[in-house]
Symmetry: C2
Subunit: 397 residues, 2 copies
C-alpha cells in the first residue's frame, strides 16, 4: 500500500478541505496536527499515550537522529517505526531546519550544507542526496526535500538566490528518491516576498511531488506577513495534493492555516509549553506554577476530557511542577496534546458541516468572552505583533 491523498469535502465559505492521507502505516484524517518526536520519542509519552490523546501521525527530526543514534543503526532495526515502537504514520523532516537553528557553524554551498554537530562539534555534510538517503534509512511514510531555511529578515536578493538553490536541491532529491513506499514532499520557500513565494511554488510544483510543504514561516516574521504568505502560497499548490504548513503553530495559526487551505501542521508549542508548565484551555492558557493554583481543586480545564483533567487537580499538577517531578511533563504533555488534537477534530467536524467560519467566530468569541482575570490566565490566541517569540519554539523539537 503506498501513499495517497483524497479530498473528502470542502468548506463552502473558506478554502478549508476535509481529507484523508493513506500511508503504509495507516490513515490520517486531515487537517491534522503532528506532535513532534524529535529524538524518536515525543518527550515523556509512549506511543500508547499518543494514540490515547488522538495522534494519528507524528514527526521525527532527521538532524537529531542522524547524529544520534545514527540512521544506519535505525535502518538495521527495520526503521524508525520499529525502533521507537510507533506503528502509525510518521513523517521525517530533511534536517535542513535544525542545521539552520542548532548548528554552531554552517556553510551553505550549492552542493549542500556543511555544518558542525551541536552535540560534539564534529563536521558533517548534508546534501540533497544524503538527506534522502538518511530518510530512506529511517523509513518514515512521508519524507521531505532538503531546503534552505533562511533567517528572518533576509534580503530579496539573497532570497532569490536561495529559492533557486532550494529548487535545484528539490530536483536532486527527486532524482535520488528510490523508496516509492515513502512519499517525498517538496518545500516552497521565498521568505516574505510574494513574488518569490510564487516563483518557488511554480518551480517546486512543476517537479510533481506527492505533496507540498510551505517552509520558512514562523521564523520571526509578523503575523500579517505570515498570513499574507499563507494566502499567497497555499492556493498555488494543486488542489489534489496535501499542503503542509511547516512549524505552525498556535491554535489560531492553525485555524487560519486551515481556512486558507492547509492540511498538515507540526509544532513543538503544545509539548514544549507543557514541559514549561503552560497549559492550554478553552479560556486561554494557564501557568501551572502560579501560586493561585496551590490549593485549586479544579482540573486544568473543567471542559476537558483528557486523562490529566479526569484524574488530577491543578493543585496536584502545581505540586509536581514545583517539586520538579518527572510525572509533571508527562501529565502536562497529555493535556496539551489532547487540547491540540481535539481542536483539530473540532475543525474537521466544522468543515464536514461547512461551518468553519462559524466555528472560528465562536472560537475567537469564546476566547474574548472570558475576561483575563490576571496575568496568569492570559491568552495565547490573539495576534502578536511578531511571531519572534515562537521562532525558538518553531520547527525544532
Amino acid at each position: 500500500m503506498s501513499f495517497s491523498f483524497t479530498v473528502i469535502t470542502k468548506d463552502h465559505q473558506t478554502s478549508a478541505r476535509l481529507g484523508k492521507i493513506r500511508t503504509p502505516h495507516g490513515e490520517v484524517n486531515t487537517p491534522a496536527f503532528m506532535p513532534v518526536g524529535t529524538q524518536a520519542t515525543v518527550k515523556s509519552l509512549t506511543p500508547e499515550d499518543l494514540v490515547s490523546v488522538g495522534a494519528e501521525m507524528i514527526l521525527c527530526n532527521t538532524y537529531h537522529l542522524y547524529l544520534r543514534p545514527g540512521h544506519e543503526l535505525i535502518k538495521t532495526f527495520g526503521g524508525l517505526h520499529r525502533f521507537m515502537h510507533w506503528d502509525h504514520p510518521l513523517l521525517t523532516d530533511s534536517g535542513g531546519y535544525q542545521v539552520y537553528s542548532l548548528s554552531p557553524l554552517r556553510k551553505i554551498k550549492d552542493e549542500g550544507v556543511y555544518f558542525q554537530s551541536h552535540l560534539d562539534g564534529s563536521y558533517h555534510t548534508l546534501s540533497p542526496e544524503k538527506a534522502v538517503e538518511i530518510q530512506e534509512s529511517l523509513g518514515a511514510d512521508i519524507i521531505m526535500c532538503l531546503d534552505e531555511c533562511m533567517p528572518y529578515p533576509s534580503s530579496s536578493d539573497y532570497t532569490r538566490e536561495s529559492i533557486s538553490r532550494t529548487t535545484h536541491w528539490a530536483e536532486r532529491c527527486r532524482k535520488a528518491w528510490k523508496s516509492k513506499t515513502q512519499a517525498l514532499f517538496g518545500i516552497i520557500q521565498g521568505g516574505v516576498f510574494p513574488d518569490l513565494r510564487e516563483q518557488s511554488a511554480r518551480e517546486i510544483v512543476s517537479l510533481d511531488f506527492p505533496g507540498y510543504a510551505v517552509g520558512g514561516l514562523s521564523v520571526g516574521e509578523t503575523k500579517a506577513e505570515l498570513y499574507e504568505m499563507m494566502d499567497n502560497t497555499l492556493p498555488l499548490i494543486p488542489d489534489n495534493k496535501p499542503r503542509y504548513l511547516m512549524g505552525l503553530g498556535t491554535p489560531q495559526d492553525i485555524l487560519e492555516g486551515v481556512k486558507k487551505g492547509a492540511d498538515l501542521f507540526d509544532c513543538v508549542i503544545p509539548t514544549r509549553h507543557a514541559r514549561n508548565g503552560m497549559l492550554f484551555t478553552g479560556f486561554g492558557s494557564l501557568v501551572i506554577k502560579n501560586a493561585q493554583y496551590a490549593d485549586d481543586p479544579r482540573p486544568v480545564d473543567p471542559g476537558c476530557t483528557c486523562y490529566t483533567c479526569r484524574n488530577y487537580s491543578r493543585a496536584y499538577l502545581r505540586h509536581l511542577y514545583m517539586a520538579n517531578e518527572i510525572l509533571a511533563p508527562r501529565l502536562n504533555t497529555i493535556h496539551n496534546l489532547h487540547y491540540y488534537l481535539n481542536f483539530l477534530k473540532q475543525i474537521r467536524t466544522a468543515i464536514r458541516d461547512s461551518q468553519l467560519n462559524n466555528f472560528a467566530a465562536a472560537f475567537y468569541e469564546n476566547q474574548k468572552r472570558i475576561p483575563l482575570q490576571n496575568e496568569s490566565t492570559r491568552s495565547l490566541y490573539f495576534p502578536e505583533e511578531s511571531t519572534s517569540s515562537l521562532a525558538e519554539a518553531g520547527n525544532e523539537g
Copy 2:
C-alpha cells in the same frame, strides 16, 4: 472496613509466611514490596502504571509532603489517596528517617526533633504527636510511629539512650493516635546490638500495635550484621502481626528477610537504579548506557513480560538514556518495578508450595550459573562486604 492481617500459610522449612493485609483501600498479599512515592508520586509513573506492574501498596514520605505541599493542603483534598489519584493501600513513614538523612541540621531532644528544611532552611519541630497528626492528615492506611534512626556506627551507650527515647515516643504516638481506620505501626530500633534490639522489641511490642517495623537497618552496617539483626529481632514480633523491614533492599536482602519471617519491604533501589540506567534481570544487572548495547536488538531481559521488554530493544533504551529523554526513566522504572514485584510474586508462590528454600537455592544458582561476561553485567545479588553503598539508596525516596 479497618485494618487486619491474616497469616494464610507458612513455609515448612523457613520462617516465611504467606499473608494478607486488609485496609480500607483494599488488600495486600504478603510478603509485599512497596514502591516508594516520595513526593506523592512514584517518580515517572502514573497510578495506572503502578497497578500494571503489580504494585498493591506504595509508600510516601511524610517529611517531604509536610514541607511541600504541606499536610494541611493535602487534608483539604480529602487526603493523599485522592490528591495523588492512588485508590489502593498506602503507607506513610513518620518523617524521622529523612530528618536524619536530609536535614542540614537536626537536634534530638526528648520532646522531639528540631530540624532545618533541606528545601529552604526553615526551622521545624517534629514531635511524636506532630508526626501522628501529619500522618492522620495525609490519611494513609498504615502510619508509623516517630522513632530515632541512628547513624552507623553508634555506641551501645548512645543506642541504649536512643531506644528508650524511641519507646517513649512510641507511647506518645499511641496516645495521640485517633484515626482508627489507619493502622499505627511501632518501630523497633537498637542498632547492631542484639541485647538492645531485644529490649526495644520487648518494649515496643508491649505497647500493642497493629503491626511492627524493624528500623535502623541498611544504614551502613555489614551484611552479616544486617542478617544477624533480622534473625534476632523478627522472631520477637508476634506471629499474628505484620512485620515490616524498613528500607530493604536488594532482591537478596528481601529473600533473606522473607525467610526470616518479614512481610513488608520498601526501598528506592528499583526506582533509583532505573533512573540511573541500572536494570535488573534474571542474570544480574545491566547498565544500559554501556556501548555494547548500542546496537543490541534484544529486550532488557528476554524472559521478562513487562511493557518495556515487550516493546523496546536495549538499543532504543540506551538511545533514550544517552539523549537524556524523559521516557528513559519511565521505561526503566516500569522494568525494574516489574522485576521486583514479580520476584515477590514468585516468593509468595514458593511459600504457598512450601518450597521457599528450593526457590532460594535456584535463585542463587541461577545468578551464579550465568558467567559475568564483563563488568557491565555484574550481579547485584551477592553479599557485599558492607551495605554502605546502599545506605544512600536506603529508606529515602
